[in-house]
Point group: D2
Chain length 290, copies 4
């Protein structure tokens, strides 16, 4: 089965390899030739433009950075829209504002093209292992059509609701995850300032009622002061802009998320945007004169 793919960054590359490993043909476009070479070597077919990708494959996946990026890839010059035909499907796996997802879907619907928003959780590790959690918004029958393809890239695929609902779920995921990271950072800073060994606090808390994936993974990084690995914090910074602007549009106050965002602003200002988000510990420490 022929599939298309736009987005050959840290997430997209392993996802393409997993599609290939699943037995699917992959037509892709990469702006930078050096990104294309290893994918071509693995059996994917490079195209000159998104439009050409869309002409070759009815189902096209995108995973880029911002809502503007998705709009550019779809509706820009030589964009996917120029290659789509009636019955084509766009599956956008980027993390973008729910409203942008809905407006792209509406414009594509006028052309007879279906769209799913299907953002993912799990990071590079999950992308490589094919264990991403995928949250899908859009028509159920369209999701069923592409589910086998999604399952070659992820472990779970949950249909959340109509267009945009996948992005809402992703926003929820990011809020809960990064708030947990910040709470760990505040806790470890308090422990440190109290003269208490963070490693022992971590050992005591890990399996209990405060236990979480974040505590295990990010707490460990904080205790070991290993801030290099993981997801770049600047991406979470970007996501919180989406969350809080959505809250503004809906009129839903998010007092804790709003403060987490400000801590991410401080992290960016401190030049830590390319470190792991566990670097929030350094921000709290600097606030606390540690």
């Amino acid at each position: 089965m022929k599939t298309g793919f736009i987005g050959t960054g840290a997430m997209g590359r392993p996802m393409i390899l997993n599609l290939l490993a699943g037995g699917f043909e992959v037509y892709f476009h990469a702006r930078r030739p050096e990104a294309a070479a290893p994918l071509v070597a693995a059996g994917a077919v490079a195209c000159a433009s998104p439009a050409e990708v869309a002409r070759n494959a009815q189902i096209v996946f995108t995973i880029v950075t911002t809502g503007e990026d998705v709009e550019q890839v779809v509706f820009g010059a030589e964009g996917l829209a120029q290659g789509f035909s009636s019955g084509s499907v766009l599956v956008d796996m980027s993390t973008i504002p729910p409203g942008t997802a809905r407006s792209i879907a509406a414009r594509l619907a006028e052309m007879g093209v279906a769209m799913l928003d299907a953002p993912v959780s799990g990071g590079e590790v999950g992308a490589k292992a094919g264990t991403l959690a995928i949250m899908a918004g859009g028509a159920a029958e369209v999701l069923e059509r592409v589910r086998p393809l999604l399952l070659s890239m992820g472990k779970t695929v949950v249909h959340i609701g109509g267009n945009g609902a996948g992005q809402v779920a992703k926003a929820c995921n990011q809020m809960i995850m990064v708030a947990a990271i910040e709470a760990c950072a505040e806790a470890f800073a308090l422990a440190e300032k109290s003269g208490v060994d963070g490693a022992r606090v971590l050992a005591a808390l890990k399996g209990g009622s405060a236990g979480s994936r974040v505590l295990e993974v990010m707490g460990e990084r904080m205790v070991k002061r290993d801030f290099a690995a993981g997801i770049e914090a600047r991406l979470h910074h970007k996501d919180f802009r989406i969350v809080l602007n959505e809250a503004h549009a809906l009129g839903t106050p998010l007092p804790v998320a709003a403060q987490v965002w400000q801590q991410l602003n401080a992290l960016m200002a401190s030049g830590l945007g390319r470190e792991d988000t566990s670097s929030l510990l350094k921000v709290v420490e600097s606030l606390g004169g540690i």
Copy 2:
């Protein structure tokens, strides 16, 4: 082996039963006779006062509500201090300010009495099952002496550091846990306001990078709107006063914890203090006009 116990509330009662089940003798004092009867029936020995408990048992456990309560039980009229002899050990399992724990320990040390602060995590469920997580502060050799007793009540016992360190770890636990509850509340309120089904969001997020005990347990309660079970929110409200006053004393800003505290204030003002802390969802919903 003879042990003493003060505190026959929802946590203390099952902990006494677990000590008895572990083969230990338990001398206890209860202010209310109706609390005493079932414990006596189970084999524990009722005493007329904390002082009498301390005269009967060298190792005494306390689990009451506030720092003032502990001070009263230890140093008040007919308090433990009047019954302690050199070599006695007080193991306070209440959640109280680290500074109060340190000051009680210092006063007892002058009398030749050792103290451990050993607050617990796991709630009533953990107290009944004997699976509490115990975070201990105080001298390591004292902890080793009482460890077998602690292990009849809990599953893990971690030595965090000197006096007060157990309370610091407990403060960290509460911060992380209740911040996670509030983050879930904000996420589900956002989903709801977006017209998205919270149950599907929960299903999608549970196993992923935002996954946690809180999401599984409290997220479930939020989705089912079952706010009756669990730990009474007023206890978390009390704990956050401790956390933020400790932060004040140390000069460590805790921006997210400070907002969580305010949400707990709103919860109390809404008359929800005896419901489960997952009721924070109702607070966020009321803020958002839902």
Copy 3:
């Protein structure tokens, strides 16, 4: 001297009348004929489109709601840009993001048209009285050219810096003002919950170190529970979106402004967007179970 004007809302109408009273000719465009009639009666000249306004007057003022509105008025169909000639000047008095102001200025510069961002403070009362405070960004010589016109609408005109700087100053103004309103709301809610008469608190605080225009005007409204007058809160809500997105772009954490924004979200969710921003008191009261 011929001037142009776009924006005939609550602010724009009295500003046009003040320009006329200052002896200037005013060419304006209003989408709704009922807005035009009283202005024509006062001596202003109605034009069929923004483009026609720009053809009649070299200096054009705009005061509309959002950055998108300004872009539409300038670059949309029959927009000002189609009527501007080299040497024309646009003075935008709307409150919009600094970045939008800079990008509009850059596009106009390519056409030989100068732009000032000149947002105002003082509300309808100030617009009618001609006592607005005007904060201007852009070239100093352009400002000097239009200063006499501005002084017919406002009392003070301060040159803040280059393009966008006026909007930065306005963002600062809104942050300080609405944070002060929220602080008053929290203070009066605390007093009320303590059983203390807010009117006496206001009397005691007014002239002291906590004294401010906000305390005098908005504090009075809170005490009298008169929330009808003043500036519609939804406009401040809009402004805080600008402030926090600017903070995001710059990486400057604004912890207090972020919380004020969330309170404005709650105000909107409570359906109070068309009341005066002193309605923040009702939001804090509802949080506090009052």
Copy 4:
């Protein structure tokens, strides 16, 4: 008329001098002899203890730092209570928790001694000039009895309500004032990060709707980077602990005050506690990588 005075710090000394200048006799006690000498030289009478002060004067003023300090001065060894007789009046001008004020008043009432809480606003400048704003809680007839004395130290005396009400008003004053300082700090940090001259922003905002005593005085200090003068920030830090604990006790969420407190924690951690509170600018700047 004979008056007593306890508290010979930066506030108390000029207040004693103003009482003397008003023609009143002043009996005082100072722990440090060097504080006593200039007061004796000015005509005040030094006493060996608070008790001796209370034996010499029926109306005694106190202005010390914490609630514990007041309790010590009144009920400690050789405290005022030992010298008071039926009909004595204590006027406590310290800033302490409302609940502490109420409990001291209740204990004194049992001895036939009346108490007013009468905290002040205006700082050292106001204490020297005799222009303090005084907010009084307690019985109206007692206030009328001491009003002439208060008017020798302050310009305005407002009766807020019963015991503790003066402290509630003072808490409101501090919330509003320090929140305004923090809002200015955030605004100037945003301006700076935008490359905009803070002095011009200050000039534009001063007289407008964001205008306040804080903006004029503290804004000026921020722009001139003169953080030495004024009130020591550590005192505001102390006050915010009172405010937020009061909010906890009442169940009134104060989202903005809670964040201001955290910024004051950061200020303390940065070692700026003895600088003016306008140093909050440095805290926000450090957060923003400036």
